[in-house]
Amino acid sequence: MRRVLAFAVAIAAVLAMAVVVGACGDDNNDNSSSTTGPDINAQGEGQLNTVNWEGYTDSSFVKGFEKETGCKVKDTLAGSSDEMYTKFRSGGGGQYDLASFSGDASLRAIKSGSVAVLDTSKLTNYPNLAKKLQVPTFNTIDGKHYGLSFMWGANVLIYNADKVKPAPTSWAITYDPKYKGKVTVPNNPIQIADPALQFFGQKDPYSIDQATLDKVKNKLSEQKPLVRKYWVLATDFEDLFKSGDATLGAGWPLMTNDLKKAGMNVKEVLPKEGVTGWADSWMLSKNAKHPICAYKYMNYVTRPDIQAKVADVTAYSPANLKTCEVVGAERCKELHVRDENYYSAIKYWKTPVAPTNYREWTDTWNQVLG
């Protein structure tokens, strides 16, 4: 009897406290919407917290920034837009000052009110960005700039040229049973857009109906036995190739770059069915603790010489057109800096909303994985 009583008292106490705590918590909606940026010539706050893609805070150029500005960069890497967004929003939203959101996370950030409007007068390299990247729909709404375009690129087909002959030209090779156990694709629901675009003719692969979603699910399930591992981190991808566990993969130019540097004969190709891709913008948190350092960083990494360095690390395409003057005509062509056709051919990541929404995509993806 005493045991039951003790139990009951404990439960009551705990529930009471939980209700109190639960009732207290509420989202802090900071509604400051001024577009005047901070004084970028002032002394920085000494630190900068970022959450970004691999390579965007590489020590080869970050060290220079830290020396120049005294802002120590504390970066956190994310493997997917989902992860980046979730981290950015964690714990009240002031954790990170900057995030390098791709188009599928940028609109979520804007809609949820977690990012500040940027003052383009304080963004020194803004006028030199490619015109399309100055007011793209994924970071500019109603003339308000919520993000500064930074780098962009495509999700390419990467293959081990020693093991895969002849050179592939179609995504169908990643569904070919001949390569069973040798394929790797990203562990990311947004991957659903790829088959939608490449095999089911969806011009806008992010707005697909349930029927198409089901077809894609079946296609991906067909692919599952061929996939050695669904990669999450860049290392996963690179390790798979290095150890010979995978010879074909859907990845980013960063991986081709890294593997080449490691001495492997890997190549990438944009298959004929088309590619998805991403265009990344730096976005500033509304509750950023270090706005001056944030602006300084944005201005630093969009400088032509630094954009060249970022491109060296990632092999992505820089947004600043003046980068061509620094790297020379051939490299400029390699990086597609001025290639508008290339830019337009890519179907950039966008959060699916309708007819099927991202939650449904995530559910479908989970079902494919099992």
Binding site: R3, K74, S243
Partner: protein, 269 residues
């Protein structure tokens, strides 16, 4: 001891295999810390100490290790205070709900860290707290309390309270009795609990993952992050080797303590 020759050989051989299983990965970690290349293949590509050099000059893991030490220290101190006082309450008093409280204090360490982690993450989300070093310490302390509690309680149960009564009869005050009579008897239990607590907190990843802020990169979190970058893996092997070597003295101390107590009762209790 007991056992025929045959028994000795069978168990000895099996045990050797099990120990080999336990140590093979460790040996490989140490081996590949000296890997010349970044590809951990077999046969061994070749020796180099470059990763230890890189580790030496890299301030990021150093700061991460230092943060882990600070967090482990703070959590251990809190766990010592909370766990010891609770053990005394259990040993010296009878009260309502003992079994329940005992169960509750054991839960955080028996249930997987992911549950503690997401529960506390939800808690801090609702109370609008930023994730930071403080939230990590809170998480760690919660599962460390029981480590101290169990050790101290087991010891208190073996020590007769009549010693303390005698001390008071001889005129010592409460504080004096504690300092000169009680404390010495529980000292090694405190050390055992503290060592366990520190070790668990230092290497903790599950709870820490959900409670760390942007600024809070503990050593395990740094390692997890370093895995993202294939250049980082050998450096991580070097770091793991260093951790192992550095912790050997602590293990030796633990061994010395256990010898004092006879076999392994101290850590187990």
């Amino acid at each position: 001891m007991t056992g025929s020759r045959g028994e000795k050989w069978v168990f000895g051989a099996t045990s050797a295999l099990v120990l080999l299983f336990l140590y093979l990965p460790l040996a490989l970690i140490v081996l590949y810390a000296f890997n010349k290349t970044t590809i951990n293949s077999w046969p061994f590509p070749g020796f180099s100490t470059r990763w230890f050099e890189k580790l030496y000059h890299d301030e990021v893991p150093r700061e991460a290790a230092w943060l882990s030490v600070r967090i482990a220290f703070a959590s251990t101190v809190l766990a010592l205070l909370l766990g010891t006082s609770m053990a005394f309450a259990f040993a010296r008093f009878r009260f309502f709900g003992k079994e329940l409280i005992n169960f509750a204090v054991t839960l955080p360490i028996i249930l997987p860290g992911v549950i503690t982690g997401v529960a506390l993450a939800s808690f801090f989300l609702f109370t609008n707290n930023d994730l930071s070093t403080r939230t990590v310490i809170i998480g760690h302390t919660t599962f460390c309390i029981v480590l101290v509690f169990n050790n101290v309680l087991a010891r208190l149960r073996r020590v007769s309270p009549s010693l303390e009564e005698a001390s008071r009869d001889l005129g010592a005050s409460g504080f004096q009795t504690f300092r000169h009579v009680t404390f010495p008897t529980i000292r090694t239990a405190l050390v055992a609990g503290a060592l366990l607590s520190f070790a668990l907190s230092f290497d903790e990843i599950a709870v820490t993952f959900f409670l760390a802020g942007a600024d809070t990169t503990t050593l395990p979190l740094w390692i997890l992050g370093a895995f993202r970058n294939s250049q980082g893996v050998p450096e991580v092997n070097a770091a793991a080797t260093v951790i192992l070597v550095v912790s050997l003295p602590a293990i030796a101390i633990a061994g010395y303590l256990m010898r004092e107590e006879g076999a392994t009762r101290v850590v187990q209790e």
